[in-house]
Symmetry: D2
Subunit: 381 residues, 4 copies
Amino acid sequence: MKKKICFIISSRANYGRVKPVLLEIKKDKRLELQIILSASSILGRFGDIRKILIKDGLHFNDQAFVVIEGDTPLTMAKSTGFSIIEISTAFKNLNPDIVVVTGDRYETLATAISASYMNIVLAHIQGGEITGSIDESVRHAVTKLSHIHFAATQEAKKNILRLGEIKKYVFNTGCPSIDTLKLNKKKLKDVRDLLLGVGNKFDYNKPYILVVFHSVTTDYENSYNYAKVLAETIDKLKHQVVWLWPNIDSGSDEISRCIRQYRESKRLSNVSFFKNFSVDDYNSILRNALCTVGNSSSFIREGSYLGVPCVLLGLRQSGREIGKNVIFSDFNEEELLKKISNQIKKKRYPISYLYGQGNSAKKIKNYLAKLEPNIQKKLTF
Amino acid sequence: MKKKICFIISSRANYGRVKPVLLEIKKDKRLELQIILSASSILGRFGDIRKILIKDGLHFNDQAFVVIEGDTPLTMAKSTGFSIIEISTAFKNLNPDIVVVTGDRYETLATAISASYMNIVLAHIQGGEITGSIDESVRHAVTKLSHIHFAATQEAKKNILRLGEIKKYVFNTGCPSIDTLKLNKKKLKDVRDLLLGVGNKFDYNKPYILVVFHSVTTDYENSYNYAKVLAETIDKLKHQVVWLWPNIDSGSDEISRCIRQYRESKRLSNVSFFKNFSVDDYNSILRNALCTVGNSSSFIREGSYLGVPCVLLGLRQSGREIGKNVIFSDFNEEELLKKISNQIKKKRYPISYLYGQGNSAKKIKNYLAKLEPNIQKKLTF
Amino acid sequence: MKKKICFIISSRANYGRVKPVLLEIKKDKRLELQIILSASSILGRFGDIRKILIKDGLHFNDQAFVVIEGDTPLTMAKSTGFSIIEISTAFKNLNPDIVVVTGDRYETLATAISASYMNIVLAHIQGGEITGSIDESVRHAVTKLSHIHFAATQEAKKNILRLGEIKKYVFNTGCPSIDTLKLNKKKLKDVRDLLLGVGNKFDYNKPYILVVFHSVTTDYENSYNYAKVLAETIDKLKHQVVWLWPNIDSGSDEISRCIRQYRESKRLSNVSFFKNFSVDDYNSILRNALCTVGNSSSFIREGSYLGVPCVLLGLRQSGREIGKNVIFSDFNEEELLKKISNQIKKKRYPISYLYGQGNSAKKIKNYLAKLEPNIQKKLTF
Amino acid sequence: MKKKICFIISSRANYGRVKPVLLEIKKDKRLELQIILSASSILGRFGDIRKILIKDGLHFNDQAFVVIEGDTPLTMAKSTGFSIIEISTAFKNLNPDIVVVTGDRYETLATAISASYMNIVLAHIQGGEITGSIDESVRHAVTKLSHIHFAATQEAKKNILRLGEIKKYVFNTGCPSIDTLKLNKKKLKDVRDLLLGVGNKFDYNKPYILVVFHSVTTDYENSYNYAKVLAETIDKLKHQVVWLWPNIDSGSDEISRCIRQYRESKRLSNVSFFKNFSVDDYNSILRNALCTVGNSSSFIREGSYLGVPCVLLGLRQSGREIGKNVIFSDFNEEELLKKISNQIKKKRYPISYLYGQGNSAKKIKNYLAKLEPNIQKKLTF
C-alpha cells in the first residue's frame, strides 16, 4: 500500500512554494499524493488556484472553506478554530500517513493541531526561521508539534535543533520555492495578466517597481498609517508600479481602505493594482522588477536567489535571514524614497544560495518516503 | 485602571491547582481577576465546579461549553477548534490584559491560540515539564506562544530557556498546587463524598489505595487493554480501593467501558468508583492513601510533597521529573501486584520540594502585577 | 445512474423507526442508499448503534459528531448550529439526490437547513403531528423546508396540507415504526440486555412497568421537580420497573441528577435502569409491559398498535393524536398512582391502526424512487 | 424592570427597514433596546453600518462575525450554522425578553433557531409574503418558529393565519420600510457618495436608471448567465446607470465576475458601480430613478409607495405582491430593452399603500411592549 502524503495548500503563494514537491511526489510510485485546498486558495478575492492546479496536472482531494470574514484579530482567531474543525474532517476521510504544512500562518497552525490530536505524523517546511508578527510565535509552535522538519537555511536548521527537536528528523533541504524559480521559464511579455490590473495600464516596455505590503498582525492598528506612508511615497515615484493586494489577515482591510482613498482622489496614477497572479507569473514579475518594496517574504527568499534589490519595510520580516539584496527602511517617506532610488541603481546583486540551490523538492520527497518517526515526541537537548 | 488578569479554568483538577493564585489576585488592589470556566469544569459528568468556586468566594465572568462529545481523536481535535471560537468571544467581551493558562491540555492550547491572535499577553503555568502523550508536544507549543512562564521546577525552567524564551520572563515559582496542599486542612473523615461512590461502600477506618488512570492520547487504541490489566490487578487486591473516572479525553470511553464490564460480572467488588471530588477532598484522599496507582500527574506533583508511595503506569507521565516516592511499572499484572505491595510497605517517603514549597501563588501574582512584556516575541538563544 | 437517497440517523430510537425503509431502499436496484449517523446515535452514553446497524446488514457512509456537551438551552442551540456545519460537509461529499429526515429534533432541523441551502430535495417522515415542547415548532418549520411529506396519520396529512404544502407531495403512508413492530419476533426472554441494568436485578418471570421520561425543553427548569414526583411515585409501586435514561436534551441532566439522588438514598430499589436497548429489544419490552409511564412518543405511536396501557405525563406529547390506550396524568403523586393502577387492570386495549398498518416502508420507498419535485417551493393554499 | 427587546441587524438594507422601529423603542421608557449586528452589516465589502448606526443616535450591544467566505451553497449552509453558534452566545449575555427578526435570509433563520432553543419569544417582521429563491421556504419556516407576527400587507397576514399561527399574535402593521421612506428628506444632490463609485462619473443633472441584481440561491448555477444578459442590455442603454453590488449570497461571486469581465473589456462605460449606500442615500436614489431594473425587493416594497417604474427580473421575487409600478421580464435582451423603455415613458405610477402607510414603527413598538405570548406554541387552524 502506498504511503499517503497529504499537503494542505492555503494560498496561491503557498502553492507556488510547494508545487515542485507536489510534482515530485506525484511521480513516485511508493507515494500517494493528497491535496487539501483551504483558506484563501479557493476564494476568488485572493486568487482561487483550483484551475491553475488542474492545469499543472494535479488534482485536489478536498477543499475546506475556513475563512470567517471580518479581518480583525477576533476573526483571525475564530478562523483558526474553524480551520481545525474543517481540516479534521478532511483528515478523517483521507486518513493520511504524513501531513505536510508550510510556513507560519494560522492555517498552518490549525492543520498542525488537527494532525497532532488525530495522531498523524506532521512534517513542516520553512520552520526555524526568525521574523516578526504573530507568525514568529506560530512558526515555532508548529515546530513543537511537528515530527519532521525541512528547514530552508542552515541557520533555520540550527534553530530547530535548539528548540529541542530530534536531530535525525531535522534537515536543511533548502526551500522548494527556489526549485520553483529555477523551473520558471516564463518571459515577462507572456504574463498577459499584467494587462488586467486596476488603475494605470501596464507597459511591458518600461521598467517597473514591485510592491507587496502585508499587515503586521501584532501591530494591526497601525496598518492604515503605514499604508499611507507607503502610498505617499509610491505616488511620488516616476516609474510605473505593480502593486499586489495584501493577504487575508488582520489589518489587510485597513491597507485596502487606504489604497482606495488614494485612488478616489486620483492619486497613485502610476500604479497598476492586482489581486493575484499565478506562481509563474509572479516569479517573472519578481525576476524582472527594477526593485521591490514592502514586506513580502518573497523579496527575501526568492529575491536573494534572483538578486533583485529590495527595500524592506517594517517588522513583519524583521529577524529573517537576508541576502545582500535587502536593505531596511523605516516608515518614513524621505528615507524610503532615497533607499528605493539607491537600490534601483544597484541593478542586480550576485546570486545567493542562502535559501537553497533549487534541488529541495526531490530531497523532501525522499525523506517523506523513507522516514517513519514515532508519533510520540519528546523534548531532547 | 486595574490590570485585568484572566484565568481559564478547564477542569476541577485545573481549578485545584490555581486556586491559591486566584485568591491572591483577588486580594490585590492593583489587579482585577477574571475567570472563564470551560471544558469539563462546567459539565456534571466530570465535576461541575461552579458551586465550589462560589463557595470559595470567587465568581466567574463567563463560561464556555466547548466539548464536542465523542471521545475520539477526531472530537478532541474539533473540541480544540471549537474552544478557540468560544474562548475568543469571551476575550472580546472581557478584554483582559494578561491571560493565564495552566498545563498542557487541548483547552490550554486553544486558549493560547485565541490570546495569540487577539494580541493579548499570555502567561503559562507548568511549562517546560517533560511527559508523554500528545500533552508533551502541546505543552511546548504553548510555551512558544507564551510571553511569561511560571515553571514548577528548576529543570522545567531550564527547558523553557532552552526553547528560546526570553530570560527575564521565565521563573521557577514552584507549582501553586503545593500551595493548595499546604492550605488544605480537611480530615479524611470529613470527606463525606466518599460515601457517594458507586460499588463498594467506603470504610473510613480501613486503609485504601487510590487509583486514577487516564488514557494516553497518542496510544488511545490500547486504552481498553491497559485498563483491563489494571482492573484485573486491582480486583486481586485485598485493600479497599478509591478509583476516579478518567478525564474527558480520547480513549477515556474505552476505559469506562472496561470498568463497566468488570462491574457487570460482579468483579472489582473492593472498589468504590467516583466521578469527581472537590480539590480539598481529593487532596485529603491523596494524602491519606496507602499507595497510589495509575498515571495521574498528581501522584508525582502533589505526591512527592506528601511522600505518598506511587506505582506509575505507562507512558503518559514518562519523562516527567519525579520524586523518590514514584516507581514505574509496565502493564503486567504480576509486576504491578508486586510493586504495589512493595510500595505499601514503604508507608511514607520523606517530603520533597521538587515541585515547590507552597509559596508560589504570591510570587506568580506579583510577577503578573509587575511585568509588561512586548506582545511581539522573538526567538532568543 | 442510481438515485441517491440519504438518511440522517440521529439516535437509536430514530434508527428503530426508519429501519424498515432503509432495508426496502437497499433492495431496490434503482436506488442507492446513503446513511449518515449523527448526534447520539454514535455516542456510547446514549446507545451507539454502529454495531447494530452493521449486524442488520446496513452500513453507514459518514458519521458526524455534533453534540456540544452541556445539556442546556444554550448548548442545544449550539449543537444545532454545529450539526449544520458538519452535516453540510457530509452532503458535499455524498451529493445525495434526496435527503430524508424523521421527526422533530434539533438534528432534524439542522439537516433540513443544510439540505435547503445546498439545494437538495428534502423528504420528511412524521410531519404534521401536534405535540408540546419546542419539538412542536421545529416539526412544522421542517415541514416548511421539505418537498415531500410522509405523514404517519390522516390528521397529520391534513395538517401538512393546511400548512400550504403541495398536495401531490403529501402522503399518509403510516409510520414505518409500525412496520418495525410487525417485523419484530423477539421474545422477552431473549432480551438478554435486561440483565445489564443498574439497580434491581430484572426478573423475566415477573410483570413490569416501563418508564421513559424526557425533559420538556420549553419548560426545562422544572425537569428536576417533575422527575421527583415521578420517582416518588415509582418508588411506591410493588411491581418491578424498567426505566430508560432520557434523551440528550436540555433538562435531561436534571432528570439524571434526580434519579441519582434517589438511588444514593437507597430508594427506587424496584427499578432497573438502562441506558439504551436495540430497537428489537425495546419493542419486546414495550410489547410485554404491564403498563407504560412517562412521555415517550413510542407509548402513543407503537403503543396504540400494541394496545399497551399508558399513563402519559406532562406537556411533551400534548396535542398528539392518541389511541384509546393512553390516559393523561398531572405531576401529582396520588393521581399518578391511581391512574397507573387503573391502567394495569385494563391489561390490553384493542389494536389501533391510527399510526399505520405496518406497510409504510414500501410505500415510502416507492415514492422516493418516483417523485422529482421542483427544488423551488411556493406556498399554496 | 424594563422589557428587553433585541433586534438582530444583518445588513445595511435590513437596518434601513427597521430603523424607525428601533428609534421608537429607544424612546419608550418601558422598553430597553438591544441591538446585535451580524453578517454583512459589519463587513466593509458589503457596507459596514457601525458608524451610520451611531450617527443615527443608536448603539449596538454586540456584534457577531458569522460569514464563512466562499459564496457557495455549502458556505451559505455553514454560515447559517455558525450564525446560530455565535448569536446564541450573544443571547446568553444579553438575555432578551423578545427577539425581533426581519425577512427571510439565512441570518434570520439562524436567529430564529437560537431564540427557539433558548426559550426566548420571537417576533417576525415581513412574514407571510410569497417570493422565489430559498428565501420562500425560509420565511415560512421562520413563521413557524415565531410567536408574534408583524405582516407588511393584508395578504401576508392572511397567509400567516393560514399557516396555523394564533390569531391574536398576527398583525398587519404595514412595513416599517415605508416609515423610513416617509422620514427621508434627503435630496439627490446631497447624496455625495454618488461621486465615489467605480466606473462612469455620476452626473447629478442627468436622469439615471437604478440596477440591483441578486442571485437566486435555488438557481445559483445560472447566476453568471443571467448577469450576462443584464450586462449586455445595460451596456446598450443611453442613460447613465447606478448599479449596486449584489448581497453576500450563493451566486453573488458569479455576478461580480461577470461585471468585472465587462469592465475589463471597457464595456458598461455608462455605469457607476457602488458597494453600498446608507439607507437615506439609497432611498433618495430610488425615489429619483427614472426606472429600476433587477430583482431587489425594494423595487416592489418601497417602489410601490414611490410609484417608481420597475422591470423585475427572474424568479427571486416571483409570487410577491406587487403594485402597478412593476412589470416582469425574462432574461432576454430584446424584451428587457423594450420593457425598460416602456417603463421610462410612464414616469411615475400613483402612490400605493400596499406595503403600509408609514405608521408601522409605532404599532410594532406598542405590540412589543404589550404582548406576552406563551413560549409553548401549538398549531391552530
